[in-house]
C-alpha cells in the first residue's frame, strides 16, 4: 500500500501495445494479404500474416480438370509471370510423361519467359516506388516499357497477361518474323530505359535512406526459411536454378547470375532485380540469334491430352524464386494430385522475422522488397 505521500503513478503512465490490422484491403499489401501488427509506438513488435483471401483452390482444380483444361488455368497462379507457371507444370508433366521437347520450342520458351521476367520486375519496380510513397511520377515509367512487352505477348499468345503459351510438350504458336524483329528492337532500346530508371531511383537520396540497411536478411535465416529468387541471391546464396540445376537450353546461353557478398538489405534486393532485367535482356538477344528452325511441340495439343502414370517434381526459376510443381499422375486425363511449390508462399513466411523491430513505415519497404504475389501465395 502506498502512503499518502507516495502516489503510485505506474498505472496512469502505463503504455500499451497497439494492434493494427492491415488489410485485406490496404493500398500497400499488393492485393489481399492481411497483417496483424503489434505496435509499440510506431515500432512493429510482432506480425501475424493471415493468408488465403485469394485461395481459389488451384490444386483442387488440378485434380478435377483435364490436363488440357488445367493448362489454361495455371497462368492465374502467378499472374505476373504466367509463362513460368505454365513452364513449371509443363516441365513436370514432361518429366513424368517422358516426351521430348523440340529445340525450337525450348528456345521460344526461354525467350518468352525471360520477357515475362522483365515485365514482372518492371511491375514490381513501379509498385515498389508507390509503396515508398512516390505516388506519381516515377511509377509510370516502368509501365510504359511493360506495355510494349505486353503488346508482343498479345501478338504471340492472344492475351496480355494469361498467355497459356507454353504447353505440355512444347509451345502453342510459332512467332512471325515481324514479331522477332520487333522483339529485337525492344531488346536494343531496353538497356537505355533501365539506365533511365536507375538515374531517377538509384541515386535518389530519400530512396537510399528508405532502403539502405533496412530489412537485412541474414543468409542463414533465409536458408532456414527456404527463401529463393533474387531475395536470397541478394543475400549471397548461389541459388539460381538456371545455373545450379540447369534446364532447357540455359547451359548453352551466356549470362551472369549476380551474387552478393554480404547479407542483403532492401536496396540490394532492388539493385539485384535491376541487374536481372539487364541479364534477361541479354538472354533474349542471344535466343533471337540462336533460334533454330523446326517443330514447336512434341505432343499433340488435343483435349484428351494424357500424361503417363508416375510422379515427379520439376521446378523453374521464376522472377520470385523456385517455382516447382509436384505431379502424381495415374495415367488418366487428369492429375491424381498436383502440388505447387510457390516462391511467394515460402518467401512470405519470413516476413514476421524481417519486420521485427522496424517502424511501421518500413513494413511497406520490406514487404515490397521481397516481391510477393498474393495468388502465388494463396493459390
Amino acid at each position: 500500500m502506498a502512503t499518502d505521500t507516495e502516489v503510485d503513478l505506474t498505472p496512469r503512465l502505463k503504455t500499451d501495445e497497439m494492434l493494427i490490422n492491415m488489410g485485406p484491403q490496404h493500398p500497400a499489401t499488393h492485393g489481399v494479404l492481411r497483417l496483424i501488427l503489434t505496435l509499440d509506438g510506431e515500432i512493429v513488435r510482432h506480425t501475424e500474416p493471415i493468408l488465403g483471401h485469394l485461395h481459389r483452390a488451384q490444386e483442387w482444380q488440378g485434380q478435377n480438370r483435364t490436363w488440357f483444361q488445367y493448362q489454361a488455368l495455371i497462368d492465374r497462379v502467378d499472374y505476373l509471370s504466367g509463362m513460368f507457371t505454365s513452364w513449371a507444370m509443363a516441365r513436370a508433366a514432361e518429366v513424368v510423361d517422358g516426351c521430348e521437347v523440340p529445340e525450337r520450342a525450348e528456345y521460344l520458351r526461354v525467350m518468352v519467359s525471360e520477357m515475362n521476367r522483365i515485365t514482372s520486375h518492371l511491375l514490381w519496380l513501379g509498385t515498389y516506388l508507390i509503396d515508398l510513397g512516390a505516388m506519381f511520377g516515377f511509377p509510370f515509367y516502368p509501365f510504359r516499357e511493360r506495355e510494349k512487352l505486353l503488346e508482343l505477348f498479345e501478338e504471340i499468345a492472344g492475351q496480355r497477361m494469361m498467355f497459356n503459351y507454353i504447353r505440355i510438350g512444347g509451345v502453342m504458336r510459332n512467332p512471325k518474323d515481324a514479331w522477332l524483329s520487333k522483339l529485337k528492337r525492344f531488346t536494343e532500346e531496353f538497356p537505355d530505359r533501365v539506365d533511365e530508371y536507375e538515374a531517377i531511383v538509384t541515386q535518389n537520396p530519400i530512396f537510399l535512406k528508405r532502403t539502405k540497411g533496412v530489412g537485412i536478411l541474414r543468409k542463414e535465416l533465409g536458408m532456414d526459411y527456404g527463401i529463393t529468387g533474387p531475395s536470397i541471391r541478394a543475400s549471397g546464396v548461389n541459388l539460381d536454378l538456371r545455373r545450379t540445376k540447369p534446364y532447357s537450353v540455359y547451359p548453352k546461353l551466356k549470362f551472369d547470375v549476380p551474387l552478393n557478398d554480404r547479407d542483403g538489405d532492401t536496396f540490394d534486393r532492388y539493385i539485384f532485380r535491376i541487374r536481372e532485367m539487364r541479364e534477361s535482356n541479354e538472354i533474349i538477344k542471344q535466343c533471337l540469334d540462336m533460334l533454330p528452325q523446326g517443330e514447336i511441340s512434341g505432343k499433340k495439343q488435343i483435349a484428351g491430352l494424357r500424361v503417363k502414370a508416375g510422379e515427379g517434381f520439376a521446378a523453374v526459376e521464376s522472377p520470385r524464386g523456385t517455382l516447382g510443381c509436384y505431379i502424381i499422375s495415374n495415367g488418366s486425363d487428369r492429375a491424381y494430385r498436383i502440388k505447387w511449390r510457390n516462391p511467394s508462399f515460402c518467401n512470405l513466411s519470413i516476413l514476421p522475422e524481417l519486420l521485427k523491430n522496424h517502424p511501421i513505415a518500413d513494413v511497406m519497404a520490406i514487404f515490397g522488397s521481397i516481391d510477393v504475389i498474393l495468388p502465388d501465395v494463396d493459390r
Binding site: 526459411y225 527456404g226 508416375g310 512470405l348
Partner: protein, 178 residues
Amino acid sequence: MSETPAAKPPEEPKGLGLCGQFLKDHGIATTRLPDSCGVETIEIDGAHLEAAMKLLRGSSEIKLDYLVAISGVDSADTFDSVYQLWSYTNNNELIIKVRVKKTDVVEGQLPLVPSLARFWSAANWHERETYDLVGIRYYGHPYLRRILNVWDWDGHPLRRDYKQLVDALNDKASGSMR
C-alpha cells in the same frame, strides 16, 4: 533434376541409395520406394523423421539443407506426407515419404505425423497448409491453424471423400463444369 526422364515403368530399386545408406549408417531404418523420375525416394517411419531430417541437414557430405516443399497426398490406402529435399550447395536430391495407413487412423480423427517446424522454419507454413487442405495433423507444431481457408472451415478439400459445401454463395455442384 536431369532433363532426360526416368525409364518407365520404374523398375524395383536395387538396394539402398546414397541417402538411404547414410541414414542406415546412423541407425535409422528406411524403405526404398521406386524412384520418382530419377530422384531417390525413401519411406521413413514417422517416429524417426525428425532425427533423420536433422542428420541429413547437418551432415557435411549430404547437406540436404533446402526444404523445397511438403505435400500431403490422399493416396489409395494411405495418407502421405511428402518432403522434397534439395541442397543449396550440391546437387543432392531426396524425396522422403511418411505414410499413415488409413486403417490406422481413428475414426473422426486426423492422421498424425511429427512436425518439423520447431527446427526448420521452412516447414512451418507448409505443414499448416497440408493440415488445412489434406488434413494431416503435425503434432508438435507451434501454431497448427488453417492457413488458406477460413478458420472454422469444415473438412479438408483435397481429401478424396470431400463433400463440397453448397449454399447461396456457391451452389454449383462439383463437376458441373466438366
